[in-house]
């Protein structure tokens, strides 16, 4: 035994999952709705997906080269950001705008705050909102089957009825990845089975949103209206894929619940009382900002610590 032995503090074994594998799982979870989006909107959708992913990965790589940091593109998080951003864009968006959105998402929202794990808001959503305020026209131009039309949510806000069934399947206008509630749910089930996300945040989000809608929308308990509200806009995509973003959601178990409720209430307020029909992006970004506060008030009690702290101590 001439070789030196490795000495380190325990534990001496590690689990299988690492960051890039988790990111790969997320990409797999996003595939159903991506494929449906491409099928629904055609070649432009595929083009935007590829452009966003490529420009996200490239901007992360170039940024890290410039600041002399080790490249982190192999962790696949930039791919996830690019894909999510593309799914949040209308397929008619000019390519150069998509590139700007991607660069903004990676460089401004993510890298300037310290890179993966340090950003305080979801980069993809940051990119989307940036595009939304910069290019309001092209970002809200939704075409379906070659015809410009209002999204079902906008129709709903106008007081008209929509076909809830087609919204569930996703044969309607909207951004590339948000239209099909079924495909999003399929992806979510994959992620839940792979242990990447759990139902706490999406569940509390959707539940509190439903309660808010029933109480304040003026429609009461109208199933058709509820389904349309749930399947319309970015709610499903946001609840399962963006609100659950690890970095920008609370880590404390109670914090997750509180976060979900915040999201539900804010989405409700924006959709019912706001000017725009859509409110998920802003609700998530706003709640992202509340995360440090939420975590502060939800520090969990450790195992065996009673509500009223016992002063009785042992002698160890």
């Amino acid at each position: 035994m001439s070789d030196l032995l490795h000495v380190a503090s325990s534990p001496h074994v590690r689990g299988k999952d690492d960051t890039s594998r988790i990111m790969l799982y997320v990409i797999i979870g996003l595939l159903p709705t991506t494929i449906f989006g491409i099928f629904n909107f055609g070649f432009r959708a595929l083009l935007l997906v590829l452009v966003c992913i490529a420009s996200c990965v490239a901007s992360e790589y170039i940024f890290e080269k410039i600041v002399h940091k080790k490249s982190t593109i192999s962790d696949l998080s930039a791919v996830v950001t690019g894909l999510l951003l593309a799914l949040n864009l209308p397929h008619t968006l000019p390519v150069w705008q998509a590139v700007i959105g991607s660069v903004f998402a990676i460089v401004i929202v993510k890298m300037l705050f310290g890179g993966l794990g340090q950003n305080f808001m979801n980069p993809a959503l940051g990119g989307r909102v940036f595009l939304l305020v910069s290019f309001a026209g092209t970002m809200t131009n939704f075409e379906f089957d070659g015809v410009s039309q209002a999204t079902p949510l906008a129709v709903l806000k106008g007081g008209e009825a929509v076909d809830a069934m087609s919204m569930l399947i996703g044969r309607c206008g909207g951004t590339i990845g948000e239209t099909s509630a079924l495909c999003i749910l399929l992806g979510a089930i994959i992620l839940i089975l792979l242990g990447v996300i759990d139902l706490v945040i999406p569940g509390t989000y959707i539940l509190s949103f439903v309660i808010f809608i029933i109480l304040f929308s003026g429609h009461g308990f109208d199933t058709g209206y509820l389904v349309a509200q749930l399947c319309g806009g970015g709610l499903m995509l946001g609840a399962f894929f963006m609100a659950t973003d690890y970095v920008t959601s609370p880590i404390t178990p109670m914090g997750k619940v509180l976060f979900g409720i915040c999201l539900g209430v804010l989405t409700g307020i924006f959709r019912i009382f706001g000017n725009s029909a859509e409110g998920v992006s802003y609700a998530i970004i706003f709640s992202n900002l509340l995360v440090p506060l939420i975590e502060k008030v939800t520090v969990p009690r450790a195992f065996g610590i009673k509500r009223v702290k016992k002063a009785k101590g042992g002698d160890n």
Partner: protein
């Protein structure tokens, strides 16, 4: 069969099949070899040597006296001559004052006085026998057993829990002793129950040891006061607080003792030692030891005289089949990495594992993505990623506020972390600093 467990925990690769079917084999260190007995192999005051260099000793002869109530005496496990009393390196890396005995290879015993009628013994007599035998928590903690068995309010003890979980990967010593000599465990449990007439005995066994569960259930079928509790196979099922919760639903924190929840927890090896001490009159001089890992020629279970060097045990197992990169005293989750094998076994050493790869050193630490896997894994409901950040920043008050001192150092968080961050390591270090500060005050 419903399996009891706790919340959190992880599922490391078990690796028990390497040695689980290997019967316990007695090994005797060679003549003229050195046996080393550190004076501090338990929690509490170090023992005081009562032999001098040049003295001849017999196997089973007391060579060091307990240094106080919370302490334990030490016995020679071989016959031979005291060669030196000097500091020697132990598994955790420290130098500890030790008695070194040259083994004459004859194993002449002092003669042990057994006891035929345990029921005739008074509680004081039983505790005295346990104390004199030098029994300490042999699962690894090394807390003197007679202290554990003398709680302030004995009437409040409702459960005696035998820790038969053996949740650390690769270890099979408890398993083998439960397969080969289960009567010792049950008789030992009965002796403890004799001390606590109101208590019930629970044998908590993980369900990866089905055969043991079934056999023990058969054996205790006629015992009204002993029950087998099948537990889910999950690390750290054998953590004291986790085991108490799984078996009784009660939870304790770091400021409480198991006795505060009406429980006393003892490991299989400890209970076997109680049986040996009370019935056979034999002090703690031998123990069951697992030698395993992919680098070992012949992984197996041994009955070793305590004090034997790890290097010699490795030789007895046929040596290394491949060069070892990492050698661990204890299990892979909580054991200590050794930088040499020439260290003595003590009352608390249950295993040595030799690995051809140090998988941990291959991994590169990446940024925390706040995924919360450490939170899910933590059996103490802590937020390890945050605690490790506080540790890195030296934020002691924040560390305490987020219950850092409740950490049981099980390592589940580091195991689960996809960014491969050394969470448990950072928290352990910080915990030591905070506790040291507290002692200063």
């Amino acid at each position: 069969m419903s399996l009891k467990t706790f919340k959190g925990g992880v599922h490391p690769y078990e690796g028990k099949e390497l040695s689980k079917d290997k019967p316990i084999k007695d090994i005797k260190p060679q003549a003229q070899g050195e046996m080393v007995y550190p004076l501090s192999q338990h929690i509490g005051a170090p023992a005081t040597a009562i032999v001098a260099v040049g003295d001849t000793v017999l196997r089973g002869q007391k060579i060091a006296e307990a240094g106080g109530f919370v302490s334990a005496p030490i016995y020679s496990s071989v016959s031979g001559t005291v060669k030196a009393i000097e500091p020697r390196r132990v598994a955790v890396g420290d130098m500890v004052m030790s008695i070194v005995i040259e083994n004459d290879g004859n194993y002449i015993e002092t003669g042990f006085e057994g006891c035929t009628d345990v029921f005739a013994l008074s509680n004081e007599e039983i505790i005295k026998k346990i104390q004199d035998a030098g029994i300490v928590g042999m699962g690894g903690a090394g807390f003197p057993t007679h202290v554990k068995l003398s709680p302030k309010e004995p009437d409040k003890i409702e459960y005696i829990i035998a820790n038969c979980a053996e949740c650390e990967p690769y270890l099979t010593s408890d398993y083998r002793s439960m397969v080969e000599e289960p009567e010792k465990l049950i008789e030992g449990m009965k002796i403890i129950l004799q001390l606590f007439p109101r208590a019930k005995g629970l044998l908590g066994v993980e369900d990866n040891k089905r055969d043991v569960i079934e056999n023990l259930q058969k054996m205790v079928a006629s015992e009204s006061r002993i029950e087998v509790v099948p537990l889910q196979t999950k690390y750290p099922q054998g953590g004291e607080r986790q085991l108490i919760y799984a078996c009784t639903g009660r939870s304790i924190n770091s400021k409480m003792l198991p006795a505060d929840a009406g429980c006393i927890v003892d490991n299989v090896a400890t209970i076997n030692a109680i049986y040996t001490a009370v019935v056979e009159g034999k002090p703690v001089i031998d123990r069951i030891f697992t030698l395993s890992g992919e680098a070992v020629m012949e992984p197996r279970n041994f009955r070793i005289p305590i004090g034997m060097s790890c290097a010699e045990i490795l030789e007895a197992g046929g040596g290394l089949v491949k060069p070892a990169k990492k050698i661990i005293s204890g299990g892979p989750m909580m054991g200590f990495a050794l930088f040499e094998t020439n260290i003595p076994t003590t009352k608390t050493s249950g295993a040595m594992l030799c690995f051809t790869e140090d998988e941990v050193s291959k991994y590169e630490t990446t940024a925390c993505i706040n995924c919360g896997r450490c939170v899910e894994a933590c059996p103490e409901k802590l937020i390890p990623s945050r605690l490790s950040k506080f540790a890195d920043n030296g934020a002691k008050s924040e560390f305490e506020k987020w219950y850092g001192l409740e950490c049981i150092e099980c390592g589940s968080c580091s195991f689960a972390c996809p960014a491969r961050k050394p969470l448990a390591q950072a928290i352990k270090t910080m915990k030591k600093q905070v506790l040291a500060d507290k002692r200063k005050k």
